[in-house]
Amino acid sequence: MQVRIRQAWNHLFTILSSGSIVLLVAALLLFLIPMLRKGIPAVVFRGTVEFRKMQAELFDRGDTMALQKETEQTWQARQEIYTILDHFSRGIDTEKLTDEAKDLYRDYGQILRYQETPKEQYTELRGRAKEIRDHLLDAFESTDKDEIAAHLDAIEALRDEAAFSGTPVEKMFTMTGDFRKLIATVDLSKRDIFADELEVVKEELYNLFGPRPDEQTPQLAMKRFGATRWDVAEKHLTFLVWQEKWIPSDDGQTLVAKQVRRDDPLEGSFAGTELAPLFSLTEKILKDTMKPRFTLYWQYFIDDSTPGHYFGGVGPEVLGTLLLTLLAMCFSIPLGVISAAYLVEYAGDNLIVKIIRICINTLAGVPSIVYGLFGMAFFVAYITKQPGVLSASMTLALLVLPVIIRASEEAIRAVPQTYREAAMGLGAGKFRSFLTVTLPAAGPGILTGIILSLSRAAGETAPILFAGAAALAPIPDFGGKWWLQETRALSYGCYDITVGDKLAMMVPHKQFGMVMTLIILVLCLNVIAIVIRSRMSKKLRGM
């Protein structure tokens, strides 16, 4: 019996231990899969015609002729939707009508003055025009059909072909006629609701298609284009077609939110109106109006981004990260490799060497944020006098120094003693035998360490927070003192784009895209290091 318990306990232990490794793998997959799955759409997606327009306008990219043709086709398709919208909004959007009527009245007054009409006639005509205008405005304001009809009839009574023909007032009469026709189809009691809902519809159409061709080009770059991606377009289409309505629940006690179509015959806001066909039409011809096409936007990794991170890619961040890490390596590789060589080949086992080793271990254990403090208090304050590429990369160099020393030390130590003895037996001195025999033999190991520290430096954020990383810094100007300028970096950019950047919240694929870029960069470096190491160990085993 006891043996069985012991056996069971033994199996349990084995399962638990294996399970912990499985857990680890699961953690890695749980992390990598969502991050990459959400990040890849930044590069691979279905781009719409708006995307191609944006690329052409902001990055001078793509076939202009084909784009021109495509744009015209889509405008033709969209025209139908806009016709419905315009026709409907005339009845609802009374503000526009009111303004129109007021303008007409003012124009008429000016015309009268130009023609130098005699004073009495002027007062009389103008008074009548004013009366017409007031009736019109009252008609627009009112929600009671009888009242409106009364106002419109009053206007009809004032109609005087002889006096007003060819003047703006005649247009007012046309407006009157149009409005009478409109009123017949519109449920006036709902006009306020219609007006609010119409605003939403218009906004979503803008989000889908961008500004209309006859509209002025907006100042903001992000307002110049509609939905650049098919998934975004579909999202805006749902916002356009579906609305949330509070409907009494079955027992009639409470209100429940329910998603209904705007043209739903029972509950939709626009049921039975002239606007109702717009929704199914937009749904039906969305493909023709957007022309989605499979796009591999590899330029994401080199493009500048504008405005904020809304359009474009992560080019400046990648450049900044490369600058920072390569410069940091320039400082730390010579220092690290020489230190390692000294520690292995020359140093004895005395107190000073012990202190050096303790210091290297301490350096490896200093929290990264303290490196940031140090970089700010020393490199920025005393050496460069302002935060910039140089101070940030020096801070990073200090951070990876212990990593490089340890890796190189291990690699140099792993070179068999026989190599050195052979070199010395051939008459080489200690220095020469190190330079020509030991160092090349330890090369792959040192290279692995360097690549790993490169990936560490690329991923560190805290040390460069105060030493030279900035969220939307301009690209360093290589004609001038680029090493004193602040730069963007992938690591800091990842932080800023997820937590700090309000604009980027609207484009989650860009947020994950930047993180994906950083992860891919680091993973590639690590895979290279792992491959080099496995080849090296095979070689060593082969010997």
Binding site: V366, V370, G459, C494
Partner: protein
């Protein structure tokens, strides 16, 4: 002339040496000098690490001194006492700003210990798996996975915590906020695991075969061998591994800054992990960018940095102590 030319040919072996075999005194001296100078240069380059450690301590202390020693002795004593025992952290107040960092220090230790509670059992078990259970081929695939887990940048983990874990916690687990202590601890434990596993595995592998074989020979199962013999024998190394993992967790900045919620109060009740906390690293990272230089607030952030530095230095020394003890012991066996 003929004498000179004939002389080397009489001894063909000697002719192949381009230099005299015996050095003159000046050549000898020059060689010695070159060796010592080269040695000196190499030594001074290596010494840069020592200088760097000293400089880090010096500059962090220099910037925190104006906060610690301001006014008379009594003044500075009361300031330091307030710093270490009060939980009122209101550095931005117009008059009488308060710099009580207790909640922040407790927050740091809180998430660190929570992450260790998760990471230590898993880490030690994984190390046992790698050193004693897994066949060689499996081990070869596991090592790169652990390395990649260690290599993923902390800011990427932070984004994961904010954008994936936090919404999930809020929706599925029904927490009032997704950025809280448990979120930060979970991610920190994943980050501390690779350190713990690799150091603990080294320690377990360093315990000789004989010990295991003796235990098996007495009829013990694998679980008994590991728990009663190998792990006790490697305990110093495992303690060092745990301390190194702790250092990694306490010094981590980006994850806790993004995932812990940053509210500077001690969780009450103390076991409620779903509350937001704030750590030392996150305080420095979040506030240093916005304070003007040479103000009390600026100096107090460096004082927190100094505290952090002292913590990690102490932990480092402890792990070093256990490491040397372990090495001595395993060499003695």
């Amino acid at each position: 002339m003929s004498k000179n030319t004939s002389k080397p040919s009489s001894n063909p072996a000697a002719a192949q040496f381009s230099r005299p075999l015996r050095l003159s005194v000046s050549q000898d001296l020059r060689g010695l000098l070159a060796k010592n100078i080269g040695h000196g240069i190499l030594f001074s380059i290596t010494f840069v690490s020592v200088l760097a450690v000293m400089a880090i301590f010096y500059f962090v202390v220099q910037e925190s001194v104006p906060f610690i020693f301001k006014g008379g002795f009594r003044d500075s004593l009361s300031r330091v006492t307030e710093f270490l025992t009060s939980t009122a952290w209101y550095p931005q107040k117009e008059e009488n700003p308060e710099y009580g960092a207790l909640a922040i220090i407790v927050g740091s230790l809180y998430v660190t210990f929570c992450s260790l509670i998760i990471a230590v059992p898993i880490g030690v078990l994984a190390a046992v798996f790698l050193s004693d259970i897994a066949p060689f081929s499996v081990r070869q695939y596991c090592k790169p996975i652990i390395e990649i887990l260690a290599a993923i940048p902390s800011v990427a983990y932070g984004v994961f915590a904010v954008m994936v874990v936090a919404p999930w916690m809020q929706k599925t687990l029904g927490f009032s906020t997704g950025t809280n202590a448990i979120n930060a601890s979970l991610i920190l434990s994943v980050m501390a695991l690779p350190t713990i596993i690799s150091v603990a595995e080294d320690a377990l592998s360093a315990i000789g075969r004989e010990i295991r074989e003796a235990s098996y020979g007495l009829g013990a199962t694998r679980a008994e061998t590991m728990i009663k013999v190998v792990i006790p024998a490697a305990h110093s190394g495992i303690i060092a591994a745990v301390i190194l993992g702790m250092m990694r967790a306490i010094g981590e900045t980006m994850v806790v800054w993004m995932a812990s919620g940053n509210s500077s109060r001690i969780p009450s009740p103390w076991w409620d992990l779903s509350q937001s906390v704030r750590t030392m690293t996150a305080t420095i990272a979040g506030e240093l960018g916005e304070v003007p230089k040479d103000t009390d607030h600026y100096y107090v952030l460096f004082a927190i940095g100094l505290l952090l530095l002292i913590f990690t230095f102490g932990l480092n020394m402890t792990s070093e102590f256990f490491m040397t003890r372990f090495k001595k012991k395993s060499r003695g066996l």
